[in-house]
């Protein structure tokens, strides 16, 4: 499937093994960002010229996850040139420092 690519990254963030898997579809970039080895909460980010439309499609009740997911979802979408992103997020450590490091990993995972 020539136009569908995927990229892997596995690094330790503050001692926690973190995986980033990016798969490119024509209508979405599917990013799995996990420290649990599982897909986790699913967030759909569809950029809009007027506002950033974020849809938490399969949610987690914890507000911190919500904030973190929106932050990372929008970051990935912007990195990908404002393309729609489906983000699967499962983090043990969602501190500001960890999120910073994770953003660096996302940057290197260039499927776009």
């Amino acid at each position: 499937l020539a136009s569908q690519q995927h990229q892997f990254s596995q690094k330790e963030v503050n001692g926690i093994p973190t995986e980033v898997v990016c798969t490119e579809f024509s209508n979405y970039i599917f990013v799995v960002l996990t420290q649990y080895g599982k897909i986790g909460t699913l967030i759909s980010v569809t950029p809009d010229s007027r506002s950033n439309d974020i849809n938490e499609v399969w949610l987690d009740e914890i507000p911190m996850t919500h904030v973190c997911a929106k932050n990372l979802g929008m970051f990935v979408s912007q990195e990908a040139g404002s393309r729609p992103v489906l983000l699967g997020l499962a983090l043990k450590d969602s501190s500001i420092d960890a999120v910073k490091q994770i953003k660096e990993i996302i940057k290197s995972c260039q499927v776009w």
């Binding site: 499937l1 136009s3 569908q4 995927h6 892997f8 596995q10 330790e12 001692g15 093994p17 995986e19 898997v21 798969t23 490119e24 579809f25 024509s26 209508n27 979405y28 599917f30 799995v32 996990t34 649990y36 080895g37 599982k38 897909i39 699913l42 759909s44 499609v57 399969w58 489906l86």
Partner: protein, 124 residues
């Protein structure tokens, strides 16, 4: 499985792709295996048109299933996710992006998935 510095076990995510020509149509299969389950995408063109997730529960003999993305009138991703969850006893994310007009096609596609499950269970 790989081990981290503090000895914790870590199952890395793995990806497996295969393709089959079914009824004159080239069908692509993309499997992403994670801890406790897998994500399966089936389609001809690389588009994510829907996504359903299914897992077994103690409340019903049939796994629970829900549609996360896509048109609810298309039951294909849900039934696929559900049947695979029952067969593998894992959490299954399924996306089915093939025309629904041919029921023969979906049956053959599902048989092809089952065959791959038998031949390469390590990828699911």
């Amino acid at each position: 499985m790989s081990t981290t510095q503090n000895g914790a076990e870590f199952e890395a995510i793995s990806v497996h792709n295969f393709t089959e020509k079914i009824l004159e149509q080239v069908v692509h299969f993309h499997v992403m295996k994670f801890s406790g389950g897998f994500f399966l995408w089936v389609g001809s063109a690389p588009v994510l048109s829907n996504l359903a997730v299914s897992m077994s529960s103690r409340y019903d003999s049939m796994p629970l299933s829900t549609l996360v993305l896509g048109d609810p009138s298309n039951t294909a991703p849900n039934s696929l996710a559900q049947r695979l969850a029952k067969k593998t006893n894992k959490q299954v994310f399924a996306s089915y992006s093939l025309p629904m007009t041919d029921s023969n096609l979906s049956l053959l596609v599902e048989n092809r998935i089952k065959k791959e499950l038998e031949l390469h269970p390590e990828h699911f």
